[in-house]
Symmetry: C2
C-alpha cells in the first residue's frame, strides 16, 4: 500500500552514470543494481566512463525500444553542476516519453529544454529530493500493521543498508513486508518513498506517518532511518521520523571503528546502550510496545579476527543479537523477529 502523494517510479530503468571515473560517484546506480537488479534494463555510459554496473549498455533509443520507462540519474556530478552532455541525453529521453528521475540538488524543472520535452511526450520529471505537497502535521494516531525502524549512533553507519538487508531476509522468510525509503538513494532503490529530511520541520512526523500507512496486522514496514538522536545537526529529523513511524522495533546501527561523530568536531558517539535507551524512551510516546530488536554493526574497520569477539561482547552488553549485515548477514536479527516479534 502506498499513500496518496508518494511518488512511485516506473520500471524498467535505464541507469545513467555518464562519464564517472570512480564507483564512489556512482553509489546510487550501484545501489539500484545491487538491490533491484530485476528492474534494471541497462546502463547509459559515455566514452571514457570508468565504472561498469554489469548490466547491458544502452542508448536512449535502444532503451525506448526495450520498453524502459524511467531514466535514473545514478551518479552525483562532481561540483554539482550538470554537464551539457547530460542535458542532451535527458532531453532526448524526456522527448521519448521516458520519465527522468533525479536525486541531485538541482531541480529538473529549472531546465526549460527538459521541461518542454517532457510536456510534449507526457514523461514525468521526478526530483526525489522534493517532498510531496500538503503533508499533514503528525497525529500520533496508532496505525494497523507492524513497523521496524533502523536508528543510528551517527549518520552514515548503515541504516539504509541494514533496512534493505532486513527487508530482503524477511521477504525470503515469508513475512509480508515493505521497505520504506526516506532518503534519495533509498527512494530510487525502492522505487518509492519520501525524502524525510527535506520536509518542513512542523511536518516531519506527519510525513513519516504518511510514508507507512495502515496495513495488515501481520505486515511489517521496514523503515530506513535518518541521522541520529545524538547528532547536533540532524537529531530533529531522527526524532520526527521515530515518532511518526511509531515502530514496534528499532535496530541500532553503528560503525565499530568510529568513536567520534563523523565531521562534527567535539562530539562523541553514544554507547550502544545509550542509543537504545534514548530511542526507546522517546519512541514510547507514539508506541508503548517499542523494543530494540538487534544491533547492526559495520565492522569493516576491525581486523577480521577481532570481529567475533567484538560482536559477542556487544551481545553480552545489550542482551540482543548483534551482527555485521555485510560480513555475517542480518539473519541473527531476523531470527529475533521470528521468535519474539510475531
Amino acid at each position: 500500500m502506498t499513500a496518496a502523494g508518494i511518488v512511485e517510479l516506473r520500471a524498467p530503468y535505464l541507469v545513467m552514470i555518464g562519464g564517472v571515473k570512480s564507483a564512489m560517484y556512482a553509489k546510487t546506480g550501484c545501489g539500484i543494481v545491487d538491490w533491484r537488479r530485476e528492474l534494471v534494463a541497462g546502463q547509459l555510459r559515455f566514452e571514457g566512463c570508468g565504472v561498469d554496473l554489469g548490466v547491458p549498455d544502452m542508448s536512449v533509443q535502444e532503451a525506448k525500444i526495450a520498453g524502459v520507462r524511467s531514466l535514473i540519474i545514478g551518479v552525483a556530478p562532481v561540483g554539482g553542476v550538470v554537464p551539457d552532455s547530460w542535458l542532451q541525453v535527458l532531453e532526448e529521453a524526456a522527448k521519448a516519453g521516458i520519465d527522468i528521475v533525479c536525486g541531485l540538488h538541482i531541480r529538473l524543472g529549472n531546465y526549460p529544454q527538459i521541461v518542454e520535452a517532457a510536456a510534449t511526450s507526457g514523461a514525468r520529471l521526478i526530483d526525489v529530493r522534493v517532498p510531496p505537497a500538503n503533508i499533514p502535521v503528525g497525529t500520533g494516531r496508532k496505525r494497523r500493521g507492524k513497523r521496524v525502524l533502523t536508528v543510528g549512533t551517527d549518520c552514515a553507519v548503515g541504516k539504509k543498508y541494514s533496512a534493505l538487508a532486513l527487508h530482503s531476509e524477511m521477504q525470503a522468510a515469508g513475512f509480508k513486508t515493505t521497505f520504506r525509503a526516506t532518503g534519495q538513494t533509498g527512494i530510487m532503490i525502492a522505487g518509492q518513498g519520501l525524502p524525510i529530511d527535506a520536509v518542513v520541520a512542523d511536518f516531519v512526523s506527519g510525513a513519516a506517518e504518511m510514508l507507512s500507512p495502515d496495513n495488515d496486522d501481520d505486515h511489517w514496514d521496514v523503515i530506513e532511518g535518518q541521522g541520529s538522536l545524538f547528532h547536533p545537526g540532524y537529531a530533529a529529523v531522527s526524532l520526527g521520523l521515530l515518532h511518526g513511524s511509531q515502530p514496534d522495533a528499532v535496530i541500532v546501527c553503528h560503525d565499530a571503528s568510529r568513536t567520534l561523530m563523523d565531521e562534527w568536531e567535539g562530539y562523541s558517539l553514544p554507547s550502544i546502550n545509550e542509543c537504545i535507551e534514548l530511542n526507546v524512551a522517546t519512541g514510547r510516546l507514539t508506541n508503548k510496545a517499542i523494543r530494540c530488536a538487534g544491533v547492526s554493526v559495520n565492522t569493516s574497520g576491525l581486523a577480521a579476527a577481532e570481529r567475533p569477539r567484538y560482536l559477542s561482547k556487544l551481545a553480552a552488553e545489550t542482551g540482543l543479537p548483534c551482527t555485521d549485515p555485510v560480513a555475517v548477514g542480518i539473519k541473527p536479527i531476523l531470527e529475533n523477529f521470528q521468535q519474539h516479534f510475531t
Copy 2:
C-alpha cells in the same frame, strides 16, 4: 547582535486590524501593543471593527505623515482568505513606501498589485513565516554568551509569554539580554526572529544556532520555545530548537488545567519532572551545563484560592521556583537567575 539573513522590522508601526469583531482574532496586534507599545504609532481599523488596541486611529496617509515605516497585519482573517478591502490598503501602504509585514499563511508576493507598488516605492514585503534562505546545518559548536529557552509540556502553554516576561524582567534588573523570537507573533513583537517551524527539518538546529549568535559572556538570549518534546506532531521542532539553542537554562511552561494534549487525542501531558528530565537529558548533547531554572504555569483555569497551594506543591516536587507569570509574575524565576546563573 543579529545574524545575517534574519529580518528586522522597521519601527514605528501601523497595526492593521481591519474589521475584526473579537480580540481573539487580533492576538498579534494585541501582543505588539502589549509588549512594544513604544513602537506603535497607530492602528488602522475599518468601520464596524469591534476591537480597539488603545492607540490612535490612522489612515495610511496619516501614518505616512507620522513617519510610520511598517504596516503590520495584526489579525488572522477568518477562513484564511484576504478580503479585497485589505488588499487596497496594503497596496496603498506599499505605494507610500511603507513596509508590509505579514504573518499569515498567504504570501504577499502572490498579489501582483502589492508587489508592483512595493517595487516602485522600495517598500519591503516581509512574510514573517518564511525563513531566510541558506540556513546551514547545525554544527553543535559552543557559542559565547548565555541562553535560556522556554520549553513546554504541550503547545500553547505560555512559552512565548513566559520568555517575553522573563526578558522584560531581566532587562529591568540590569541584565544584558535579547528576546529571540521563533514564531510569527513573537517575531512581530520582537521586530526580528526566525520562524523555526517553517524551516526544512535538516536545518532546524542550524536555524536555532543562527538565531542566537555568539555574544558577550554575560549576555542572555531569552529564546521563545516551540511545541514540546512530548508532542507527537511537533517534537522534532522542539528538539532541533533545543539542540541549536544550546541553552544554559530551560524554563518549563505548563497549563495547570490541562492533563491531555490540546487537540491530540489519546496523548497525556508529561509530569513537570518528566518534562524537565527529558529536556535536560537531550539538551546536554550541545550544552553539558544545562539546568532547569524554573516552572512557569498558567493557573487561570484554577480557582484563585487553589493557586498558591498548586504552586508550592509543584515547587516542593521540583525543587525549583514555580510561578504564574501573569497572576504572580516571573520574578521568582528571575531571582533564581540572579542567585544561581550569574
